[in-house]
Symmetry: C2
Subunit: 343 residues, 2 copies
């Protein structure tokens, strides 16, 4: 049977309250008593039972807020799924998780949602952040002024007081795409287009940085066109692809960091360029699995959104319920390579 606080109390001839004071460094204990209690605890190999502690935390009704940007992408769906799973577990243990969605990249709504959640009394916030000054400032205000711990998910914002980031190492994801791209194209020259979603998402801009930087190294003669933004929209992606194809007839490849693959593929097919242009994309979606299978997309460089959502909430849970701070500032999830063979 495990050692309890009661056994330590009996063994060292004090009350349970005193043992609690010693073991949790609440002070107000005579040094010699403190020493005795510590020694007994040590000898008996005491490890606190989290259940007892959690039962009390419950009285506080700890609330965790979540703010997601509604990109309408399959990735967001998996992220939400993970958050829902965590919400279930947290609420099983008497906590509350409040999820709010804002429009993609909408700073005003994000700030408003943050204020609302603060009013609701959250102790921690999971934020899919926008790389905007006001949002960054708000994160620091949450942390320092309100004592609300912030965990960023999906995209990170460095130089803020957020306690932890859960997501992909996006620069590395871009590099992986570059390596595979080079592997396929082989020839030394060629033109590659990059289509992204929105400028204020660091997750996407980091991928682009990694991709371009690595390509420059391993394939210096390849020309990489300026990034175009499709806002995760197939129609816009189609238009962009159209105008790229018009200008660059000998296009070798397209790197898509975001949603909008259908617009790209449709346009390529229309121009009968599907075979000529190699596509590497990112979203692990059903649609893209079909494209992988029929060969339209060569590789997907993806991430486990479900795990990210789950882990972001649980990181705060562990901090707020068990006083267990995150071990690392960056919780990077695997860079997942999908070919037609491991869907």
């Amino acid at each position: 049977m495990r050692v309890t606080i009661r056994q330590i109390a009996e063994e060292s001839g004090v009350s349970r309250g005193t043992v609690d004071r010693v073991l949790n460094n609440r002070g107000k204990v005579r040094p010699e008593v403190e020493e005795r209690v510590r020694k007994v605890a040590e000898e008996l190999g005491y490890k606190p039972n989290l259940l007892g502690r959690a039962l009390i935390k419950m009285k506080e009704n700890i609330k965790i807020g979540v703010i997601l940007q509604d990109t309408g992408t399959p990735y967001l769906k998996t992220l939400s799924d993970g958050i829902k799973k965590a919400k279930g577990e947290v609420e099983d243990f008497g906590g509350t998780v409040i999820v709010k969605a804002v429009d993609y990249g909408n700073v005003e709504q994000t700030l408003a949602a943050m204020n609302k959640l603060k009013e609701a009394g959250i102790k921690g916030l999971v934020l899919m952040p926008i790389n905007d000054k006001r949002v960054l400032q708000k994160i620091d205000q949450f942390t320092e002024e309100y004592g609300i711990s912030v965990v960023t998910v999906n995209a990170d914002v460095e130089d803020t007081k957020r306690i932890c980031f859960v997501g992909q190492n996006s620069v590395q994801s871009g590099r992986a795409a570059a390596g595979l791209m080079h592997d396929i194209l082989r020839e030394e020259e060629g033109t590659i287009a990059v289509i992204s979603g929105i400028e204020t998402n660091t997750s996407l801009s980091d991928r682009i940085y990694g991709f371009c930087d690595e390509m420059k190294k391993i394939s210096p003669k390849t020309e990489i066109l300026d990034t175009k933004y499709c806002f995760e929209d197939d129609l816009i992606a189609a238009h962009l692809t159209e105008s790229i194809l018009n200008r660059y007839e000998d296009l070798s490849a397209i790197y898509i960091t975001c949603h909008g693959e259908k617009g790209v593929c449709d346009t390529l097919r229309k121009h009968k360029k599907m075979k000529k242009v190699t596509i590497i994309a990112c979203d692990l979606s059903r649609q893209n699995y079909r494209y992988l299978k029929n060969g339209d997309i060569k590789y997907l460089i993806g991430q486990d959104g479900r795990y990210q959502g789950y882990e972001a909430v649980m990181t705060l849970y562990r901090l707020l319920f068990n006083d267990e701070p995150p071990k690392k500032e960056h919780k990077y999830t695997d860079i997942i390579v999908k070919t037609k063979y491991n869907i």
Copy 2:
């Protein structure tokens, strides 16, 4: 604030004990009372707080046993890590996890360990199984006679009463290897050697089955040699490779399902065949990452051992502590493809 059993009791004018009897179907409640309580619980949206329940379960001091075969492989290390992590969490909540190691493929030791753990009073067992009749029978005896739930990890044994398997879909892993192998070799003819670990590990034999079956489909003219077994040992693997190279000078590729990659690579290098022979292996180890980087190994088709170990123990935890049976009989983990670019 969340609804508690006390609120339901007050609302429906009965005691908490009666509410408990109704909500947990313990019977012995007057139908009209039962109905009233259920209705109130429904209206208030009651969800049991697992903390209260868990605190009581603790009195039972639930024990979970784990039996691993000590293959000495890096994979086993990651599996153990995951189990240790789960052990920590289970013990935080007042349970006990007892881990036993047996020699690789040793049936006697496995049976002995199972008996020992049964004597120790475990309520659940995580087993890395051996595909041997006596072990299979013992699993069923555990389940049916002793009421000890068994979860298999790493390798599965179908047709037993084990409640769940956590691990890779090994057949599919073999197929993925075949697909990639075909992609590289391209030419229609060729000879491929298969090196495995031990015959009684279904995880390995399933990979071989998947690999051969898929190759037959997509590349029917390729010759696949009979599987050789190296017992996860580099020296034996080296000898096997030696004799294969002597007989088949034009060998195209080697598929290694197990540990022993160093033996294979050393021998190939000695024979100056490294460039000619494509290697696909499975273990996600540091050693293999080096081989990936320098190009000796082309792909790794791996699995997340840490997660598997963790999840196997936690599956039993959820069952034994929260009465939450596993949702699926097969908890397949991702088939991870590593190239030199996403290590």
